[in-house]
Symmetry: C2
């Protein structure tokens, strides 16, 4: 909800249209904003509206109608929409990628075009398969007692996408969108103000798919921005079913209060520093390779990944201190040699710098970087800091501050006791990684620390950087607070992510002909897994 209110270029065009109830129309705006090209630090020409409450109100009314209509629409039709949308995105890929590159300065290759866009269409297609299969509804039949239950759509879902993934987490195309639609809900997408034009272009393809497949017009609606006050009012409105949010902890927690006062589930993905532990045997075996992998992971997307490693715990023995130093020297060298890529915004760069300064104030020592980088756009020098375990244990709160961007803190750890104490003091994170010797030399340490790390993270990795988040049914892109608002849910991974946007519907002694198709004794969909009298069966 942070409005990037940049000075508009001289000739301000009319603000872009919002999508409400099947119509692209002018917003009832209380202002406009412009995105920027972060590679140049210049405002872009298109103006976007900051909607008044009346736009939200209209979207909520239309979504309420659409939600009721969607309940009577075949899942196959919802699947067809998701697939048509994926195809439309592919057909319009060049212009969408160009817009995103302009608004985010993320590289076209190997990021926007080659990785994030295919990942996004893949996600939409997986959601389509799940919608068609219907197993996400987890039907349970107790035939003896004639009690049956399944998940059903929860109602209109408001999705707030983050700044860092203009496609894969976008409110109108990302994981929350795909999950909410697959569950049979209409979505009101709120664009992230750093990439409104990308969102507009995606919204166009989404609405085209709505028309192609004959879904209710308000299945997909799009607004670009609202005041903080109206954002809170929106998530607290009784017409809302649930909310998906990816972004800052501060904004997320404010939205949560408003949503929960109204009784709406809200799923927040907030902050994570993604600890990566290097045990000494791993460094002895493959120090150079690990330094390389680590650098790639830390600097991918200028470190603006939810799963970017911001905290490294390098464990050393009295004998391995020189190895630690060689490892860190290599990482520092790579950090300083690679040209810093632009960050997403001036505000983000300022927060990053403030974070680096705060870490230093808390005792961290600067190894490289720590300054705004020269040249065009919002660049910040790739930054490595270090601290000792003693220092970390003295200021555990300040030294696990999230630093969103290309800065990483290394903590050198001398004893298992120190390591255990640090792990006990960690807040919840999305991921936690342990690199250990292939020889088994680190296994004793691994076995001691893995259970402690396990408690603090949603996804535990071995010998692999956390920045890749595969769209797998077994994925957990979630974790204990403050990484997310509930450690039992994931925002990535289909069909698991879909049930977030569902309510549990039980039918007790309901007459056979009145049961929904998925709960009748004989099911027509041959693909659906159902738990009948304790046994999972299909068809």
């Amino acid at each position: 909800m942070d409005v990037a209110q940049v000075a508009a270029p001289a000739a301000t065009p009319v603000a872009s249209q919002i999508l409400i109830d099947g119509e692209w129309r002018a917003a009832e705006a209380e202002g406009t904003f412009h995105a920027e090209n972060p590679a140049k630090g210049e405002a872009l020409p298109l103006a976007f509206p900051i909607s008044r409450w009346s736009d939200c109100d209209a979207a909520l009314d239309a979504a309420t109608k659409a939600a009721a209509e969607l309940r009577n629409i075949e899942p196959a039709k919802i699947a067809a929409f998701l697939e048509a949308y994926a195809a439309n995105i592919e057909a319009a890929a060049d212009s969408i990628v160009a817009a995103a590159a302009e608004e985010t300065a993320l590289p076209v290759t190997p990021r926007l075009k080659d990785v994030e866009l295919p990942r996004t269409t893949n996600q939409l297609r997986q959601a389509a398969s799940a919608a068609r299969e219907e197993s996400w509804r987890r039907p349970i039949l107790d035939l003896e007692k004639n009690i049956r239950s399944c998940f059903s759509p929860i109602g209109p879902v408001v999705v707030f996408g983050p700044n860092n993934f203009p496609f894969a987490f976008n409110g109108v195309s990302g994981g929350d969108f795909a999950a909410a639609i697959a569950a049979g809900n209409p979505v009101i997408a709120k664009a992230h103000p750093l990439h409104p034009n990308t969102t507009r272009l995606l919204g166009e393809q989404a609405f085209k798919a709505v028309e192609q497949t004959g879904l209710p017009p308000a299945t997909v609606q799009l607004i670009y921005n609202v005041s903080n006050e109206n954002g809170l009012k929106l998530v607290g409105d009784p017409r809302v079913g649930a909310i998906g949010f990816t972004g800052s902890r501060n904004a997320g927690l404010h939205l949560r209060v408003a949503a929960e006062e109204a009784g709406h589930p809200i799923y927040l993905e907030m902050s994570s520093i993604n600890p990566v532990i290097f045990l000494p045997g791993a460094l002895a075996e493959r120090r150079e390779q690990l330094a390389q992998e680590l650098t790639d992971s830390c600097l991918a997307g200028s470190g603006q990944f939810c799963t970017s490693p911001n905290l490294l715990l390098v464990v050393e023995t009295p004998e391995s201190k020189s190895q630690t130093e060689a490892f860190l020297a290599q990482v520092a060298k790579s950090f300083s040699e690679r040209p810093p890529q632009p960050l997403l915004s001036a505000a983000g760069r300022k927060q990053l710098h403030d974070g680096v300064m705060a870490l230093m104030k808390a005792g961290a020592q600067l190894v490289t970087g720590g300054n705004i980088a020269p040249g065009e756009g919002y660049r910040y020098a790739n930054t490595l800091l270090r601290a000792t375990a003693e220092q970390f244990l003295a200021s555990p709160h300040d030294l696990q501050r999230e630093i969103f961007g290309n800065a990483t803190l290394v903590v050198t750890v001398n004893t298992q006791e120190e390591l255990q104490s640090i792990l006990r003091l960690l807040e919840g994170n999305l991921t936690g990684t342990i690199y250990s010797a292939k020889s088994g030399a680190d296994d004793d340490t691994y076995n001691t620390i893995a259970p402690l790390l396990r408690e603090k993270v949603g996804r535990l990795l071995n010998d692999k950087m956390p920045t890749g988040v595969a769209v797998s049914p077994a994925m957990n892109h979630g974790g204990p607070f403050p990484a997310t608002s509930h450690p039992g849910f994931t925002s990535v991974g289909i069909p698991t992510s879909i049930t977030r946007f569902a309510k549990l519907d039980c039918y007790d002694a309901v007459r056979p002909e009145r049961l929904p198709a998925i709960l009748k004794d004989t099911i027509t969909n041959p693909s659906t897994w159902r738990l009948i009298n304790g046994t999972w069966v299909k068809g």
Copy 2:
């Protein structure tokens, strides 16, 4: 957390012991309280302590240790505990039932001994089966990507039981307790102050089972009461994993704020008026039988059931008005003829009377009852009120106020439009019931209104009163806010209820020998259902 601070009998004995870290010991108390015999309105002799924070602190420390130990304990051992506990309860049934009858005035037969106690031990045994089977952990294996996930224990669970089910929802023996333990978590039970002695006796059997089966001593801990301030501090403590609460909306929402500030999932079951709709064809067919069923359901446990019908919507046609009147006359007659049973407390009776007065102030007309009943104990006349649909639509908030106890509001409805409008204005409820003609005469109306009712309730029933809550895997004892805090969870129904007390743990590229047994390629437990590459398989 409402402390029943009744004047103590003259010779106050030493307060009963609390159970902390495997030891029955004196509380560090800041006061004591006495339960009452609601059938007589007299305080009972046993004194129970109001614990200071130091007791909570000790319980939290012990639970933290127990949680870590439980993670390495075979599920079969947890199952054995639950079964031993069930057997212990049965062996001590006479004294437990006697204590509950004394503290609650609920009938021994057909309630405490014949229904609630067997239901409680059945629940514990179902939880044992689920713990042994392990399917509740919902293991998902993506073998190609080597990503695996399952649910794992969330950490120490604090359970607050309600006043109305001294066994089946008790913090130390009920559904939340069974689910939290089956998931592998230690429980800190907070007794309801209206039945501390029942809770003490159950706690003794629970701890005996802990010792019999060699679980960590702090697997079950018990305190009787704390100040509101310490209750909030308890649920907000970082050592807590999750909280289960059944009780009033006001207390629940305060606890939620404290729990969520600390990032803990909290599951609230709060208020529900359980609308029951009578369509005209049903009354034409079986009016007398339905009046009987309805009376039984409304007055069971003096109406102090979460699923008690507090709102009846009787639909009439111009021709069926006399039928409605005959139906209501019969219900009113039964209400007035059956002797009112004692309510659980003086405070509950006052709230009930205040609720009845509030309904009347909002326009409801008293048909029968509406006064404190003469005789011993906390009795209130069985109360029936009526209002028109017009009145309901004019004051929908005030006329759907929860009235916990033996009072029910009938709303007579003349048109389908009125009925639809009422359903649209209903808050979330645990249950919603529709009685319709067996002949099919009401089917058109059913088909119009069922989708509207469906959105407002967790469990939809046909031709059956909602007061029976079967312990079935397909049960949903949950529903949209304010019935509960999240419409995707149920507190009754194993294994579904168990996952509330779990976090989702993903393993990404973790080496095979380091995976938990449930996620290895080959599983040793032949009973566990796992989703492997999209197919549910066992063994």
